[in-house]
Symmetry: C2
Subunit: 412 residues, 2 copies
């Protein structure tokens, strides 16, 4: 006998900016017996998943497949495959995850130029375009939705300028994909990284990516077939640019694995792929437009409830990220104590934030399966109770009533 | 409506060297609702998993945790964190996965020296020790169990020599962990990488690793805290050796995430962690010794059945890997046609091999949940039928009878 008990996780209403609750149909998919990685039934599921990802990213790109790791693995795979050491990269930063792009690009060997906006705001596209003119980077990497501050960055103008000036544009859409529009082709995005554990409501563990022919050309120029798989005569060095520094994140090798050649690389994560495919199937059955509308409705109800309760929303409203609502912690209140009460008494989780916002705001997500009327009403009621218990004066009952009014107006 | 059908994978008896069948209790664990990554209930599960991994690796090391990716992600994380670009690394190669270590070490910037044995054999430890004396590497990386050839490499003598001569020894135990003994401390292994999808019978998706204080000292000397998480005054460059090139695989950052500090890094794969914890719980309940004995028994029965059928086992028997049995494809037989018949008619999967062994051998795994009497008897019966159908002359019925005799002798 071992001292370890049976797994028995407590039920949770997860209203953070991720990971959020997983759709029960996805959980069911995770529990199905596995297939071998080269079983034709499994490779057919891989192909279906690629096709679904193209719909998700709104792209005609050939390449759309998951990286086998958490969201930042997708970011690192794209950046390490696209950045030749020594190249100039521009990273506009308006929150924590911009700093992460800076960090990863730097470790890929890039000479990184950054530009920063105060947390709570975003960039005017013209500012970024001016910086591109000045810095002349070969690649721009930026965040579409900053969960650390709850802001969103418009991309189309920057995308068009990059396309016209032969600059690659890489976008971290981890927080937005599946919850708000992400249009890879229409916005001229050369590579996009999505996340599973947010608006897709699939557990953390895969990072769907897509990239176009412009990106692929650069990747192919760095390609080397893996040692142990090379046929006699195949080159041991890349033909053009310096080789890719990572084997695990080598998109040139990964796309061979995801192509009909099925050249052996890693062992695909069977169960996670089942989950991703099911999450995408559910999303496409709901429809992208309906899904985006659902996310906007939940945001509206949540914001109405929070403001009716007398709380102050954080940040510039003109660039609010629809799927994350940041709210200021009332003066004198211990934010962590409120969060602990929500979790321990109500089984509801909301998030704190990072760096300069630590202790100043709470972040409430309305993402994927968690973006539901039920969850919004539960979190508003519980937050009110926790605030009252912490001695905050507020108009009791108003928050939930205001949210209900939003739902009733919607169905009227 | 979408054109995508309900997920409904066909039942499979998977007798490859991985991925193998997943224990149904692990599949159940994957289907449980998730917890947030910093939920105290979840971090408690992370800590339990670390403790279980120490038992699995037979180590007192502080650090034993999974990398969030497939097995080779664990190899790359260890090598990229331990190899400072320009350092000398020795890789003894006796099959395909030695070439992978070479490839990954090279991409980490190492100056790699290799030594090779013909496929089907392994190294005398004295040969490796002589090469270490000659090459004077700072690190030796080698494979414990080569699934491509079905061979195993003894490690203890090499480990002792490395320890005495201040060389780090990194071992790929992906194929062996949980199926045959892997004794990190007793064999003087500085870092070990295991796999989930083989003898642990957990789906592919995590790579458990362990490393000792010798390895940690080198990692810490390369440490830089992530941009966006750094406090004022914390350094932006490592204090000693050159920094680690990867963010995702930076063990200095990952061990902070797995420590009580819980410094934010990636979003831990909740469902995969549930699965890994359950797989380890099942393994420890069975007991390591009993589990190793079960794997040896299934190997014995399988080998008896195959030889009674008139088939020839491949490779040097003195270094046979107990959990993979390689068998020569009879002359004139199309190995892929036999494999397809097994899969399509019987729902049973066995493997082919790589490079020089492609088309020459089949590889049959007896790993984890798939290492069962039922599976061994089913694969022997089905293989006999498929060979008869392909016109091979063999003593019908003898294979299964020989395996049954092994089981009966065991219980007599």
């Amino acid at each position: 006998m071992t001292p370890y008990s049976d797994l028995s996780p407590s039920p949770r209403t997860i209203m953070t900016p991720g990971p959020v609750e997983v759709d029960p149909r996805v959980l069911r998919a995770l529990s199905y017996p596995i297939l071998g990685q080269f079983d034709p039934e499994f490779t057919a599921l891989m192909n279906e998943t690629m096709s679904m990802l193209r719909s998700l990213f709104q792209t005609e790109n050939r390449w759309a497949y998951p990286i086998d790791g958490t969201s930042r693995s997708g970011i690192e795979a794209v950046l390490t495959s696209l950045i030749v050491p020594g190249e100039k990269v521009l990273v506009p930063i308006y929150g924590r995850f911009g700093h992460l792009l800076h960090e990863i690009a730097e470790r890929c060997g890039a000479e990184v130029a950054t530009m920063e906006k105060p947390w709570g705001s975003n960039f005017d596209p013209e500012e970024i375009i001016a910086a591109i003119r000045k810095e002349r980077p070969s690649l721009v990497a930026m965040v579409h939705g900053e969960t650390s501050t709850g802001r969103i960055q418009p991309l189309e103008e920057v995308g068009r300028f990059c396309r016209e000036n032969d600059v690659l544009l890489v976008v971290d859409a981890v927080a937005t994909i599946g919850g708000v529009p992400v249009e890879a082709d229409a916005w001229f995005l050369d590579a996009v990284i999505g996340g599973t554990q947010k608006c897709l409501s699939v557990p953390s563990g895969m990072a769907p990516i897509t990239y176009n022919e412009r990106a692929e050309r650069k990747i192919i120029a760095r390609k080397v077939i893996e040692r142990g798989l090379r046929q006699p005569g195949q080159p041991s060095e890349s033909s053009g640019l310096a080789g890719i520094r990572s084997n695990y994140f080598d998109l040139a090798q990964l796309q061979d694995y995801w192509s009909p050649a099925r050249l052996n690389h890693h062992t695909e994560m069977t169960s996670m792929l089942y989950g991703l495919r099911e999450g995408l199937r559910i999303l496409l059955a709901e429809g992208l437009e309906a899904r985006f509308a659902r996310h906007r409705l939940q945001e509206r109800a949540l914001m109405a409830g929070l403001t009716a309760m007398g709380l102050k929303l954080y940040g510039d409203p003109s660039c609010k990220l629809p799927v994350v609502t940041c709210v200021e912690i009332p003066p004198g209140v211990d934010g962590e104590s409120v969060r602990a009460m929500l979790l321990n008494r109500f089984g509801i989780e909301i998030a704190s934030s990072f760096g300069p916002l630590k202790g100043r705001i709470w972040r409430i997500g309305t993402m994927g399966y968690s973006a539901s009327m039920r969850n919004v009403l539960l979190v508003l009621g519980a937050l009110e109770a926790a605030l009252l218990k912490h001695g905050v004066k507020l108009p009791a009952g108003e928050g939930v009533q205001a949210a209900l009014a939003v739902y009733e107006a919607e169905t009227a």
